[in-house]
Protein backbone atom coordinates (compact mmCIF):
# COMPACT_ATOMS: atom_id res chain seq x y z
CA UNK A 1 0.00 0.00 0.00
CA UNK A 2 3.01 2.26 -0.02
CA UNK A 3 2.50 2.91 -3.72
CA UNK A 4 0.37 5.83 -4.75
CA UNK A 5 -2.66 4.79 -6.74
CA UNK A 6 -1.89 4.86 -10.42
CA UNK A 7 1.88 4.81 -10.03
CA UNK A 8 3.66 1.97 -11.76
CA UNK A 9 4.52 -1.02 -9.60
CA UNK A 10 7.40 -3.36 -10.26
CA UNK A 11 6.78 -6.97 -11.14
CA UNK A 12 8.33 -9.57 -8.82
CA UNK A 13 11.15 -10.07 -11.34
CA UNK A 14 11.86 -6.34 -11.56
CA UNK A 15 11.75 -5.93 -7.79
CA UNK A 16 14.06 -8.84 -6.96
CA UNK A 17 16.58 -7.99 -9.69
CA UNK A 18 16.59 -4.31 -8.68
CA UNK A 19 17.23 -5.23 -5.06
CA UNK A 20 20.00 -7.67 -6.02
CA UNK A 21 21.56 -5.06 -8.29
CA UNK A 22 21.51 -2.49 -5.46
CA UNK A 23 19.05 -0.22 -7.24
CA UNK A 24 15.68 1.36 -6.53
CA UNK A 25 14.08 -0.19 -9.56
CA UNK A 26 14.75 -2.04 -12.78
CA UNK A 27 12.59 -2.42 -15.81
CA UNK A 28 11.98 -5.22 -18.27
CA UNK A 29 14.45 -5.36 -21.14
CA UNK A 30 17.48 -3.83 -19.43
CA UNK A 31 20.58 -5.71 -18.32
CA UNK A 32 21.69 -5.53 -14.71
CA UNK A 33 24.69 -6.92 -12.89
CA UNK A 34 23.27 -8.43 -9.70
CA UNK A 35 24.56 -10.08 -6.52
CA UNK A 36 23.39 -13.69 -6.38
CA UNK A 37 21.88 -14.83 -3.03
CA UNK A 38 22.34 -18.59 -3.41
CA UNK A 39 23.91 -21.02 -5.87
CA UNK A 40 23.50 -24.76 -6.41
CA UNK A 41 25.35 -27.38 -8.46
CA UNK A 42 24.71 -31.10 -8.89
CA UNK A 43 27.07 -33.97 -9.66
CA UNK A 44 26.88 -33.61 -13.44
CA UNK A 45 28.48 -30.16 -13.40
CA UNK A 46 30.15 -29.63 -10.01
CA UNK A 47 33.49 -31.13 -11.07
CA UNK A 48 33.53 -29.17 -14.35
CA UNK A 49 32.72 -25.85 -12.69
CA UNK A 50 35.17 -26.23 -9.82
CA UNK A 51 37.90 -27.55 -12.13
CA UNK A 52 37.45 -24.49 -14.31
CA UNK A 53 38.06 -22.27 -11.28
CA UNK A 54 41.07 -24.35 -10.31
CA UNK A 55 42.51 -24.13 -13.85
CA UNK A 56 41.98 -20.38 -13.97
CA UNK A 57 43.94 -20.04 -10.71
CA UNK A 58 41.00 -18.88 -8.57
CA UNK A 59 42.01 -19.51 -4.94
CA UNK A 60 38.76 -18.93 -3.12
CA UNK A 61 35.06 -18.56 -3.76
CA UNK A 62 33.41 -15.20 -3.22
CA UNK A 63 31.22 -16.71 -0.44
CA UNK A 64 31.22 -20.50 0.01
CA UNK A 65 28.34 -20.29 2.51
CA UNK A 66 25.95 -19.36 -0.33
CA UNK A 67 26.81 -22.51 -2.25
CA UNK A 68 25.08 -25.90 -2.13
CA UNK A 69 26.12 -29.08 -3.92
CA UNK A 70 23.83 -32.11 -4.26
CA UNK A 71 24.74 -35.46 -5.83
CA UNK A 72 21.54 -36.77 -7.39
CA UNK A 73 21.93 -37.53 -11.09
CA UNK A 74 24.49 -40.26 -11.79
CA UNK A 75 23.97 -41.95 -8.45
CA UNK A 76 25.03 -44.41 -7.29
CA UNK A 77 27.70 -44.05 -9.99
CA UNK A 78 26.84 -46.43 -12.86
CA UNK A 79 30.31 -46.32 -14.40
CA UNK A 80 33.93 -45.83 -13.47
CA UNK A 81 33.96 -42.53 -15.31
CA UNK A 82 30.97 -41.21 -13.33
CA UNK A 83 32.60 -42.40 -10.10
CA UNK A 84 35.85 -40.63 -11.01
CA UNK A 85 33.96 -37.48 -11.91
CA UNK A 86 32.29 -37.51 -8.50
CA UNK A 87 35.55 -38.26 -6.70
CA UNK A 88 37.10 -35.21 -8.36
CA UNK A 89 34.10 -33.08 -7.36
CA UNK A 90 34.31 -34.20 -3.71
CA UNK A 91 37.96 -33.24 -3.61
CA UNK A 92 37.26 -29.75 -4.96
CA UNK A 93 34.13 -29.24 -2.81
CA UNK A 94 36.31 -29.68 0.23
CA UNK A 95 39.18 -27.66 -1.29
CA UNK A 96 36.90 -24.65 -1.85
CA UNK A 97 35.29 -24.96 1.60
CA UNK A 98 31.72 -25.74 0.53
CA UNK A 99 30.02 -27.10 3.66
CA UNK A 100 26.51 -27.53 2.27
CA UNK A 101 27.29 -30.72 0.37
CA UNK A 102 24.59 -33.38 0.20
CA UNK A 103 25.86 -36.82 -0.72
CA UNK A 104 24.08 -39.47 -2.77
CA UNK A 105 20.95 -40.67 -1.03
CA UNK A 106 19.75 -37.28 0.20
CA UNK A 107 17.60 -36.64 -2.85
CA UNK A 108 17.01 -34.59 -5.99
CA UNK A 109 18.77 -31.23 -5.82
CA UNK A 110 15.69 -29.01 -6.10
CA UNK A 111 13.76 -30.97 -3.48
CA UNK A 112 16.77 -30.88 -1.17
CA UNK A 113 17.19 -27.10 -1.60
CA UNK A 114 13.61 -26.56 -0.42
CA UNK A 115 13.67 -29.18 2.37
CA UNK A 116 16.98 -27.87 3.71
CA UNK A 117 15.72 -24.27 3.45
CA UNK A 118 18.66 -23.23 1.31
CA UNK A 119 16.41 -20.70 -0.45
CA UNK A 120 14.26 -17.95 1.06
CA UNK A 121 11.41 -15.91 -0.48
CA UNK A 122 12.63 -12.81 -2.32
CA UNK A 123 16.05 -14.21 -3.17
CA UNK A 124 17.81 -14.30 -6.52
CA UNK A 125 19.11 -17.83 -7.02
CA UNK A 126 21.02 -19.56 -9.82
CA UNK A 127 21.95 -23.21 -10.30
CA UNK A 128 23.47 -25.36 -13.01
CA UNK A 129 20.15 -26.95 -13.80
CA UNK A 130 17.29 -25.74 -15.93
CA UNK A 131 14.64 -26.78 -13.39
CA UNK A 132 15.93 -24.25 -10.88
CA UNK A 133 12.70 -22.37 -11.61
CA UNK A 134 11.22 -24.79 -9.02
CA UNK A 135 12.16 -22.39 -6.17
CA UNK A 136 9.69 -19.90 -7.61
CA UNK A 137 7.17 -21.96 -5.63
CA UNK A 138 8.51 -20.08 -2.61
CA UNK A 139 8.63 -16.61 -4.13
CA UNK A 140 12.23 -16.94 -5.29
CA UNK A 141 13.53 -15.54 -8.59
CA UNK A 142 15.46 -18.66 -9.55
CA UNK A 143 16.82 -19.72 -12.89
CA UNK A 144 19.23 -22.15 -14.51
CA UNK A 145 22.66 -21.21 -15.84
CA UNK A 146 25.54 -23.08 -17.45
CA UNK A 147 28.85 -24.16 -15.93
CA UNK A 148 30.95 -21.22 -17.10
CA UNK A 149 28.47 -18.69 -15.78
CA UNK A 150 28.36 -20.60 -12.51
CA UNK A 151 32.15 -20.46 -12.31
CA UNK A 152 31.95 -16.70 -12.80
CA UNK A 153 29.22 -16.34 -10.14
CA UNK A 154 31.18 -18.46 -7.65
CA UNK A 155 34.32 -16.42 -8.17
CA UNK A 156 32.72 -12.96 -8.11
CA UNK A 157 29.36 -13.38 -6.34
CA UNK A 158 27.58 -11.69 -9.22
CA UNK A 159 26.20 -12.26 -12.69
CA UNK A 160 24.51 -10.28 -15.47
CA UNK A 161 20.79 -10.69 -15.99
CA UNK A 162 18.32 -9.43 -18.50
CA UNK A 163 15.32 -8.16 -16.58
CA UNK A 164 12.51 -10.26 -18.04
CA UNK A 165 9.06 -9.14 -19.02
CA UNK A 166 6.33 -10.77 -16.96
CA UNK A 167 3.19 -12.73 -17.75
CA UNK A 168 0.49 -13.09 -15.12
CA UNK A 169 -1.49 -16.29 -14.65
CA UNK A 170 -4.51 -15.96 -12.38
CA UNK A 171 -5.93 -19.19 -10.99
CA UNK A 172 -9.52 -19.55 -9.91
CA UNK A 173 -11.50 -22.28 -8.20
CA UNK A 174 -10.39 -25.79 -7.30
CA UNK A 175 -9.29 -28.89 -9.14
CA UNK A 176 -11.92 -31.52 -9.89
CA UNK A 177 -11.33 -35.14 -8.81
CA UNK A 178 -8.40 -36.74 -10.59
CA UNK A 179 -6.93 -33.43 -11.77
CA UNK A 180 -3.67 -32.13 -10.30
CA UNK A 181 -1.03 -29.42 -10.54
CA UNK A 182 0.71 -31.44 -13.27
CA UNK A 183 -2.40 -31.24 -15.43
CA UNK A 184 -2.52 -27.49 -14.90
CA UNK A 185 1.05 -26.91 -16.04
CA UNK A 186 0.61 -29.29 -18.99
CA UNK A 187 -2.55 -27.39 -19.89
CA UNK A 188 -0.59 -24.11 -19.74
CA UNK A 189 2.00 -25.63 -22.09
CA UNK A 190 -0.82 -26.17 -24.55
CA UNK A 191 -2.64 -22.89 -23.92
CA UNK A 192 0.37 -20.57 -23.75
CA UNK A 193 3.15 -22.52 -25.46
CA UNK A 194 6.83 -21.67 -25.38
CA UNK A 195 6.71 -18.65 -27.68
CA UNK A 196 4.82 -16.38 -25.32
CA UNK A 197 6.67 -17.14 -22.09
CA UNK A 198 10.17 -17.33 -23.62
CA UNK A 199 12.65 -15.38 -21.43
CA UNK A 200 9.73 -14.12 -19.37
CA UNK A 201 8.79 -14.36 -15.74
CA UNK A 202 5.47 -16.06 -15.04
CA UNK A 203 3.74 -14.75 -11.94
CA UNK A 204 0.97 -16.91 -10.50
CA UNK A 205 -1.78 -15.46 -8.37
CA UNK A 206 -5.50 -15.36 -7.77
CA UNK A 207 -7.75 -17.21 -5.31
CA UNK A 208 -6.91 -20.62 -6.81
CA UNK A 209 -3.36 -20.31 -5.53
CA UNK A 210 -4.59 -20.82 -1.96
CA UNK A 211 -5.78 -24.27 -3.00
CA UNK A 212 -2.29 -25.32 -4.02
CA UNK A 213 0.12 -26.99 -1.60
CA UNK A 214 3.83 -26.22 -1.71
CA UNK A 215 4.26 -29.53 -3.56
CA UNK A 216 1.73 -28.41 -6.20
CA UNK A 217 3.47 -25.09 -6.62
CA UNK A 218 6.83 -26.81 -7.01
CA UNK A 219 5.41 -29.01 -9.78
CA UNK A 220 4.15 -25.94 -11.60
CA UNK A 221 7.25 -23.74 -11.12
CA UNK A 222 9.43 -26.71 -12.05
CA UNK A 223 7.85 -26.99 -15.48
CA UNK A 224 7.70 -23.23 -15.95
CA UNK A 225 11.02 -23.61 -17.74
CA UNK A 226 9.40 -25.92 -20.30
CA UNK A 227 7.28 -22.98 -21.39
CA UNK A 228 10.57 -21.12 -21.72
CA UNK A 229 10.20 -19.06 -18.56
CA UNK A 230 13.15 -17.53 -16.76
CA UNK A 231 11.29 -17.39 -13.44
CA UNK A 232 7.97 -18.96 -12.39
CA UNK A 233 6.90 -17.33 -9.14
CA UNK A 234 4.17 -17.87 -6.58
CA UNK A 235 3.43 -15.53 -3.69
CA UNK A 236 5.27 -16.24 -0.42
CA UNK A 237 5.90 -14.18 2.72
CA UNK A 238 6.37 -10.58 1.66
CA UNK A 239 6.52 -11.47 -2.03
CA UNK A 240 3.18 -10.64 -3.51
CA UNK A 241 2.41 -11.53 -7.08
CA UNK A 242 -0.05 -9.97 -9.52
CA UNK A 243 0.49 -6.32 -8.69
CA UNK A 244 -2.20 -4.10 -9.98
CA UNK A 245 -0.15 -1.47 -11.74
CA UNK A 246 2.74 -3.64 -12.87
CA UNK A 247 3.29 -3.98 -16.58
CA UNK A 248 2.44 -7.52 -17.60
CA UNK A 249 2.90 -8.24 -21.28
CA UNK A 250 0.13 -10.84 -21.15
CA UNK A 251 -2.42 -12.10 -18.65
CA UNK A 252 -4.26 -15.37 -18.44
CA UNK A 253 -7.01 -16.62 -16.17
CA UNK A 254 -7.48 -20.35 -15.67
CA UNK A 255 -10.40 -22.00 -13.95
CA UNK A 256 -8.99 -25.04 -12.13
CA UNK A 257 -12.43 -26.61 -12.03
CA UNK A 258 -12.63 -26.80 -15.82
CA UNK A 259 -9.35 -28.70 -16.25
CA UNK A 260 -9.14 -32.38 -17.17
CA UNK A 261 -6.14 -34.76 -17.01
CA UNK A 262 -3.57 -33.81 -19.65
CA UNK A 263 -0.80 -35.79 -21.35
CA UNK A 264 2.22 -34.56 -23.32
CA UNK A 265 2.81 -36.82 -26.31
CA UNK A 266 6.09 -37.43 -28.19
CA UNK A 267 8.41 -35.72 -28.85
CA UNK A 268 7.88 -32.32 -27.29
CA UNK A 269 6.44 -31.04 -24.03
CA UNK A 270 4.22 -28.65 -25.94
CA UNK A 271 2.38 -31.51 -27.64
CA UNK A 272 -0.26 -31.68 -24.96
CA UNK A 273 -3.60 -33.40 -25.43
CA UNK A 274 -6.54 -34.41 -23.26
CA UNK A 275 -5.78 -37.81 -21.79
CA UNK A 276 -8.87 -39.19 -23.55
CA UNK A 277 -7.32 -38.46 -26.95
CA UNK A 278 -4.53 -40.98 -26.30
CA UNK A 279 -6.28 -43.33 -23.86
CA UNK A 280 -5.61 -46.95 -24.75
CA UNK A 281 -2.08 -46.36 -26.07
CA UNK A 282 -0.15 -49.45 -24.84
CA UNK A 283 2.83 -48.84 -22.53
CA UNK A 284 5.99 -50.79 -21.67
CA UNK A 285 7.08 -48.68 -18.71
CA UNK A 286 5.63 -46.20 -16.25
CA UNK A 287 7.95 -43.93 -14.26
CA UNK A 288 6.84 -42.07 -11.14
CA UNK A 289 9.37 -39.65 -9.68
CA UNK A 290 11.58 -36.64 -10.54
CA UNK A 291 11.72 -33.08 -9.23
CA UNK A 292 8.38 -32.52 -10.95
CA UNK A 293 6.36 -35.27 -9.28
CA UNK A 294 8.39 -37.41 -6.89
CA UNK A 295 7.10 -35.89 -3.66
CA UNK A 296 5.07 -37.52 -0.88
CA UNK A 297 1.81 -36.10 -2.24
CA UNK A 298 2.57 -37.65 -5.64
CA UNK A 299 3.44 -41.07 -4.25
CA UNK A 300 0.36 -40.90 -2.04
CA UNK A 301 -1.89 -40.18 -5.00
CA UNK A 302 -0.34 -43.00 -7.01
CA UNK A 303 -0.58 -45.43 -4.10
CA UNK A 304 -4.23 -44.49 -3.63
CA UNK A 305 -4.93 -45.84 -7.08
CA UNK A 306 -2.60 -48.85 -6.89
CA UNK A 307 -3.69 -50.01 -3.43
CA UNK A 308 -4.72 -53.66 -3.39
CA UNK A 309 -4.20 -54.00 -7.13
CA UNK A 310 -1.39 -55.18 -9.38
CA UNK A 311 0.14 -53.50 -12.41
CA UNK A 312 -0.59 -54.94 -15.85
CA UNK A 313 1.31 -57.94 -17.09
CA UNK A 314 4.18 -57.02 -19.42
CA UNK A 315 4.52 -53.50 -17.98
CA UNK A 316 7.14 -52.34 -15.48
CA UNK A 317 6.53 -49.56 -12.97
CA UNK A 318 9.58 -47.78 -11.57
CA UNK A 319 9.33 -45.29 -8.72
CA UNK A 320 12.05 -42.99 -7.41
CA UNK A 321 11.17 -40.83 -4.38
CA UNK A 322 12.42 -37.26 -4.63
CA UNK A 323 14.34 -37.32 -1.34
CA UNK A 324 15.23 -39.32 1.75
CA UNK A 325 12.54 -37.39 3.66
CA UNK A 326 9.95 -38.31 1.06
CA UNK A 327 11.07 -41.94 1.22
CA UNK A 328 10.87 -42.07 5.01
CA UNK A 329 7.44 -40.49 5.11
CA UNK A 330 6.21 -42.79 2.34
CA UNK A 331 7.51 -45.81 4.24
CA UNK A 332 5.82 -44.62 7.42
CA UNK A 333 2.49 -44.22 5.64
CA UNK A 334 2.73 -47.68 4.09
CA UNK A 335 3.04 -46.23 0.59
CA UNK A 336 6.26 -48.10 -0.20
CA UNK A 337 4.61 -51.36 0.79
CA UNK A 338 1.58 -50.59 -1.37
CA UNK A 339 3.83 -49.84 -4.33
CA UNK A 340 5.88 -53.00 -3.80
CA UNK A 341 2.80 -55.17 -3.54
CA UNK A 342 1.43 -53.60 -6.71
CA UNK A 343 4.56 -54.83 -8.50
CA UNK A 344 6.58 -51.60 -8.62
CA UNK A 345 10.35 -51.37 -8.53
CA UNK A 346 11.06 -48.68 -5.91
CA UNK A 347 14.52 -47.16 -6.19
CA UNK A 348 16.39 -44.84 -3.86
CA UNK A 349 16.07 -41.05 -3.74
CA UNK A 350 17.42 -39.33 -6.86
CA UNK A 351 16.70 -38.42 -10.46
CA UNK A 352 16.36 -42.01 -11.65
CA UNK A 353 15.94 -42.36 -15.42
CA UNK A 354 14.52 -38.83 -15.83
CA UNK A 355 17.46 -37.43 -17.81
CA UNK A 356 18.38 -40.61 -19.64
CA UNK A 357 21.58 -41.33 -17.74
CA UNK A 358 20.76 -44.73 -16.26
CA UNK A 359 18.27 -46.60 -14.06
CA UNK A 360 15.46 -47.37 -16.46
CA UNK A 361 16.33 -46.44 -20.03
CA UNK A 362 14.10 -47.41 -22.92
CA UNK A 363 14.83 -49.82 -25.77
CA UNK A 364 14.06 -48.86 -29.39
CA UNK A 365 10.34 -49.00 -30.02
CA UNK A 366 9.38 -48.93 -26.34
CA UNK A 367 6.81 -46.56 -24.91
CA UNK A 368 6.89 -44.97 -21.46
CA UNK A 369 4.59 -42.65 -19.55
CA UNK A 370 6.40 -40.70 -16.84
CA UNK A 371 5.61 -38.02 -14.29
CA UNK A 372 8.76 -36.08 -15.15
CA UNK A 373 9.08 -32.96 -17.25
CA UNK A 374 10.62 -33.72 -20.64
CA UNK A 375 9.76 -36.06 -23.45
CA UNK A 376 12.31 -35.00 -26.06
CA UNK A 377 13.48 -37.67 -28.45
CA UNK A 378 16.32 -39.62 -26.84
CA UNK A 379 15.67 -38.19 -23.37
CA UNK A 380 15.27 -41.62 -21.73
CA UNK A 381 17.54 -43.83 -23.77
CA UNK A 382 16.84 -44.88 -27.34
CA UNK A 383 15.94 -42.13 -29.78
CA UNK A 384 13.40 -44.58 -31.18
CA UNK A 385 11.48 -44.80 -27.91
CA UNK A 386 8.39 -42.73 -27.11
CA UNK A 387 7.85 -40.75 -23.92
CA UNK A 388 4.50 -39.49 -22.66
CA UNK A 389 4.18 -37.19 -19.64
CA UNK A 390 1.31 -37.11 -17.17
CA UNK A 391 0.36 -36.77 -13.51
CA UNK A 392 1.10 -39.40 -10.85
CA UNK A 393 -2.60 -40.33 -10.93
CA UNK A 394 -2.57 -40.80 -14.69
CA UNK A 395 0.66 -42.77 -14.32
CA UNK A 396 -0.77 -45.08 -11.68
CA UNK A 397 -4.03 -45.66 -13.54
CA UNK A 398 -2.05 -46.35 -16.72
CA UNK A 399 0.24 -48.80 -14.93
CA UNK A 400 -2.77 -50.83 -13.80
CA UNK A 401 -4.29 -50.87 -17.28
CA UNK A 402 -1.03 -51.36 -19.24
CA UNK A 403 -2.11 -48.49 -21.44
CA UNK A 404 -2.68 -44.76 -21.07
CA UNK A 405 -5.75 -44.33 -18.87
CA UNK A 406 -7.80 -41.42 -17.60
CA UNK A 407 -7.58 -41.63 -13.79
CA UNK A 408 -11.05 -40.07 -13.50
CA UNK A 409 -12.42 -43.17 -15.13
CA UNK A 410 -11.06 -45.59 -12.54
CA UNK A 411 -14.19 -46.88 -10.76
CA UNK A 412 -13.03 -46.43 -7.18
CA UNK A 413 -12.61 -42.72 -7.68
CA UNK A 414 -16.30 -42.38 -8.29
CA UNK A 415 -17.33 -45.19 -5.98
CA UNK A 416 -17.75 -43.25 -2.79
CA UNK A 417 -14.16 -43.48 -1.60
CA UNK A 418 -12.55 -40.28 -0.61
CA UNK A 419 -11.69 -38.44 -3.82
CA UNK A 420 -7.94 -38.78 -4.24
CA UNK A 421 -7.23 -35.65 -6.23
CA UNK A 422 -8.88 -33.42 -3.68
CA UNK A 423 -7.34 -34.74 -0.48
CA UNK A 424 -6.06 -31.72 1.41
CA UNK A 425 -2.97 -32.79 3.28
CA UNK A 426 0.24 -31.40 4.63
CA UNK A 427 3.14 -31.80 2.23
CA UNK A 428 6.31 -33.79 2.74
CA UNK A 429 7.80 -30.79 4.51
CA UNK A 430 4.94 -30.75 6.98
CA UNK A 431 3.57 -27.43 5.78
CA UNK A 432 1.21 -26.02 3.22
CA UNK A 433 2.46 -23.69 0.51
CA UNK A 434 1.10 -20.71 2.38
CA UNK A 435 0.83 -17.37 0.64
Amino acid sequence: MDNLAGSKQLTVAEEILARAAGREESSAGEYVVAQVDAMMMHDIFAADVLSMLERAGIQRLHDPSKVTVVFDHMIPPPSVSAASHQAKARELISHFGIDAFFEIGRGICHQVMIEERRVVPGQLVVATDSHTTTYGAQGVAATGIGSSEMAYALATGQLWFKVPESVSVILEGQFSYGVTAKDLILYLMKAIGSAEAQYRSIEFGGPGVDELSLADRMTISNMGVEIGAKFAVFPADSIQTIRENAGYVASHTVSLRSLTPQVAVPHHVENVVDVDEVAGTPLDQVFIGSCTNGRLEDLRQAAGILEGKHIAKGLRLIVFPASSQVMEAAAREGIIETLNKAGAYVGGPGCGPCFGGHLGLLAPGERCLGTHNRNFRGRMGSADAEIYLGSPMTAAASALAGAITNPCQMDHITSGREPIGAVATGDSLGRRGEA
Partner: protein, 170 residues
Protein backbone atom coordinates in the same frame (compact mmCIF):
# COMPACT_ATOMS: atom_id res chain seq x y z
CA UNK B 1 39.36 -3.85 -26.54
CA UNK B 2 39.74 -5.76 -29.79
CA UNK B 3 36.70 -5.80 -32.05
CA UNK B 4 34.88 -8.86 -33.23
CA UNK B 5 35.60 -9.78 -36.85
CA UNK B 6 32.73 -10.64 -39.19
CA UNK B 7 32.03 -14.36 -39.63
CA UNK B 8 31.50 -16.09 -42.98
CA UNK B 9 30.68 -19.76 -43.30
CA UNK B 10 28.64 -22.53 -44.88
CA UNK B 11 25.17 -23.08 -43.46
CA UNK B 12 23.76 -26.32 -42.06
CA UNK B 13 20.00 -25.90 -41.94
CA UNK B 14 17.90 -27.33 -39.08
CA UNK B 15 14.22 -27.08 -38.16
CA UNK B 16 12.58 -25.80 -34.98
CA UNK B 17 12.81 -27.19 -31.46
CA UNK B 18 16.36 -28.55 -31.67
CA UNK B 19 16.92 -29.56 -28.03
CA UNK B 20 19.98 -29.97 -25.85
CA UNK B 21 19.18 -33.68 -25.78
CA UNK B 22 19.74 -33.72 -29.55
CA UNK B 23 22.88 -31.60 -29.28
CA UNK B 24 24.33 -33.56 -26.38
CA UNK B 25 22.44 -36.81 -25.69
CA UNK B 26 22.24 -37.63 -21.97
CA UNK B 27 23.45 -41.20 -22.21
CA UNK B 28 26.86 -40.13 -23.53
CA UNK B 29 27.66 -37.41 -20.96
CA UNK B 30 30.45 -39.43 -19.40
CA UNK B 31 31.76 -40.99 -22.60
CA UNK B 32 35.09 -39.93 -24.12
CA UNK B 33 34.78 -36.66 -26.02
CA UNK B 34 35.54 -38.23 -29.40
CA UNK B 35 32.61 -40.60 -28.93
CA UNK B 36 30.26 -37.85 -27.69
CA UNK B 37 30.95 -35.67 -30.72
CA UNK B 38 29.86 -38.46 -33.08
CA UNK B 39 26.31 -38.22 -31.72
CA UNK B 40 25.81 -34.46 -31.96
CA UNK B 41 22.45 -33.78 -33.67
CA UNK B 42 22.33 -37.34 -35.00
CA UNK B 43 18.60 -37.60 -34.38
CA UNK B 44 17.98 -34.49 -36.53
CA UNK B 45 20.60 -34.93 -39.27
CA UNK B 46 22.68 -38.12 -38.98
CA UNK B 47 25.22 -36.83 -41.54
CA UNK B 48 25.98 -33.66 -39.55
CA UNK B 49 28.66 -34.78 -37.08
CA UNK B 50 30.66 -36.51 -39.80
CA UNK B 51 30.25 -33.80 -42.43
CA UNK B 52 30.60 -30.51 -40.57
CA UNK B 53 33.79 -28.55 -41.29
CA UNK B 54 35.62 -25.92 -39.24
CA UNK B 55 34.09 -22.52 -39.98
CA UNK B 56 30.57 -23.84 -40.68
CA UNK B 57 27.47 -22.12 -39.32
CA UNK B 58 24.33 -23.70 -37.90
CA UNK B 59 21.09 -22.06 -39.07
CA UNK B 60 17.87 -23.19 -37.39
CA UNK B 61 14.23 -22.49 -36.70
CA UNK B 62 12.58 -21.46 -33.45
CA UNK B 63 13.65 -22.26 -29.87
CA UNK B 64 17.08 -23.64 -30.76
CA UNK B 65 18.80 -25.27 -27.77
CA UNK B 66 15.68 -25.76 -25.67
CA UNK B 67 15.99 -28.18 -22.81
CA UNK B 68 18.65 -28.55 -20.17
CA UNK B 69 21.36 -26.21 -18.97
CA UNK B 70 24.15 -28.51 -20.18
CA UNK B 71 26.96 -26.41 -21.57
CA UNK B 72 28.13 -29.37 -23.59
CA UNK B 73 25.36 -28.46 -26.05
CA UNK B 74 27.09 -25.34 -27.47
CA UNK B 75 30.54 -26.73 -26.58
CA UNK B 76 30.04 -29.78 -28.81
CA UNK B 77 29.15 -27.49 -31.73
CA UNK B 78 32.27 -25.42 -31.08
CA UNK B 79 34.40 -28.55 -30.78
CA UNK B 80 33.11 -29.72 -34.15
CA UNK B 81 34.30 -26.42 -35.64
CA UNK B 82 30.97 -24.55 -35.81
CA UNK B 83 31.66 -20.81 -35.42
CA UNK B 84 28.14 -19.45 -35.03
CA UNK B 85 24.49 -20.38 -34.52
CA UNK B 86 21.80 -18.22 -36.08
CA UNK B 87 18.22 -19.24 -35.33
CA UNK B 88 14.74 -17.78 -35.62
CA UNK B 89 14.85 -17.78 -31.83
CA UNK B 90 17.20 -19.21 -29.21
CA UNK B 91 16.39 -20.89 -25.90
CA UNK B 92 17.50 -18.61 -23.08
CA UNK B 93 20.02 -20.84 -21.33
CA UNK B 94 21.51 -22.06 -24.59
CA UNK B 95 22.19 -18.54 -25.85
CA UNK B 96 23.86 -17.56 -22.57
CA UNK B 97 25.91 -20.74 -22.51
CA UNK B 98 27.02 -20.27 -26.11
CA UNK B 99 28.36 -16.80 -25.39
CA UNK B 100 29.89 -18.04 -22.13
CA UNK B 101 32.03 -20.53 -24.03
CA UNK B 102 32.83 -18.06 -26.80
CA UNK B 103 30.44 -19.30 -29.51
CA UNK B 104 28.50 -16.61 -31.38
CA UNK B 105 24.72 -17.16 -31.06
CA UNK B 106 22.30 -14.74 -32.68
CA UNK B 107 18.51 -14.76 -32.80
CA UNK B 108 17.32 -13.60 -36.20
CA UNK B 109 13.57 -13.99 -36.78
CA UNK B 110 12.65 -15.94 -39.95
CA UNK B 111 16.28 -16.64 -40.90
CA UNK B 112 15.46 -20.34 -41.30
CA UNK B 113 12.86 -19.52 -43.95
CA UNK B 114 15.25 -17.70 -46.26
CA UNK B 115 18.59 -19.48 -45.85
CA UNK B 116 19.08 -22.68 -47.86
CA UNK B 117 21.26 -25.55 -46.71
CA UNK B 118 24.81 -24.95 -47.94
CA UNK B 119 24.42 -21.16 -48.42
CA UNK B 120 27.37 -18.98 -47.49
CA UNK B 121 26.13 -16.91 -44.56
CA UNK B 122 27.82 -13.77 -43.29
CA UNK B 123 27.35 -12.40 -39.76
CA UNK B 124 28.35 -9.05 -38.33
CA UNK B 125 28.53 -10.00 -34.67
CA UNK B 126 28.38 -6.52 -33.17
CA UNK B 127 25.47 -5.19 -35.21
CA UNK B 128 23.67 -8.54 -35.48
CA UNK B 129 23.27 -8.22 -39.27
CA UNK B 130 23.02 -11.57 -41.07
CA UNK B 131 23.33 -11.80 -44.84
CA UNK B 132 23.57 -14.22 -47.74
CA UNK B 133 25.42 -12.17 -50.34
CA UNK B 134 24.91 -14.42 -53.36
CA UNK B 135 21.14 -14.23 -52.92
CA UNK B 136 20.88 -10.63 -51.79
CA UNK B 137 19.44 -11.48 -48.37
CA UNK B 138 20.09 -9.12 -45.48
CA UNK B 139 18.31 -9.63 -42.14
CA UNK B 140 18.62 -7.80 -38.87
CA UNK B 141 19.25 -10.16 -35.97
CA UNK B 142 18.97 -9.27 -32.28
CA UNK B 143 22.01 -7.43 -31.00
CA UNK B 144 24.08 -9.25 -28.40
CA UNK B 145 24.09 -7.00 -25.28
CA UNK B 146 27.34 -5.29 -24.33
CA UNK B 147 28.29 -7.36 -21.23
CA UNK B 148 28.04 -10.50 -23.36
CA UNK B 149 29.92 -9.02 -26.31
CA UNK B 150 32.67 -8.37 -23.82
CA UNK B 151 32.70 -12.06 -22.87
CA UNK B 152 32.95 -12.92 -26.60
CA UNK B 153 35.87 -10.51 -27.01
CA UNK B 154 37.69 -12.37 -24.23
CA UNK B 155 36.93 -15.65 -26.00
CA UNK B 156 34.54 -16.80 -23.28
CA UNK B 157 34.28 -16.79 -19.49
CA UNK B 158 37.23 -19.10 -18.86
CA UNK B 159 39.81 -16.62 -20.19
CA UNK B 160 37.94 -13.88 -18.31
CA UNK B 161 38.34 -15.87 -15.06
CA UNK B 162 42.08 -16.05 -15.53
CA UNK B 163 42.25 -12.26 -15.36
CA UNK B 164 40.00 -12.27 -12.26
CA UNK B 165 42.35 -14.80 -10.66
CA UNK B 166 45.31 -12.59 -11.45
CA UNK B 167 43.55 -9.73 -9.60
CA UNK B 168 42.68 -11.98 -6.63
CA UNK B 169 46.23 -13.24 -6.28
CA UNK B 170 47.99 -9.95 -6.61
Amino acid sequence: MAGLPAIRGRAWLFGSGISTDMLSPGQYVHHPMEERLKHVLESARPEFAGGVKPGDIVVAGANFGCGSSRESAPQHLKDLGVVAVVADSLARIFSRNAIAIGLVAIACPSISEVVKDGDTVEIDVVSGMVSVGERGIVLEGDRIPEPMLDVLRHGGIEPLLASIAAEQNR
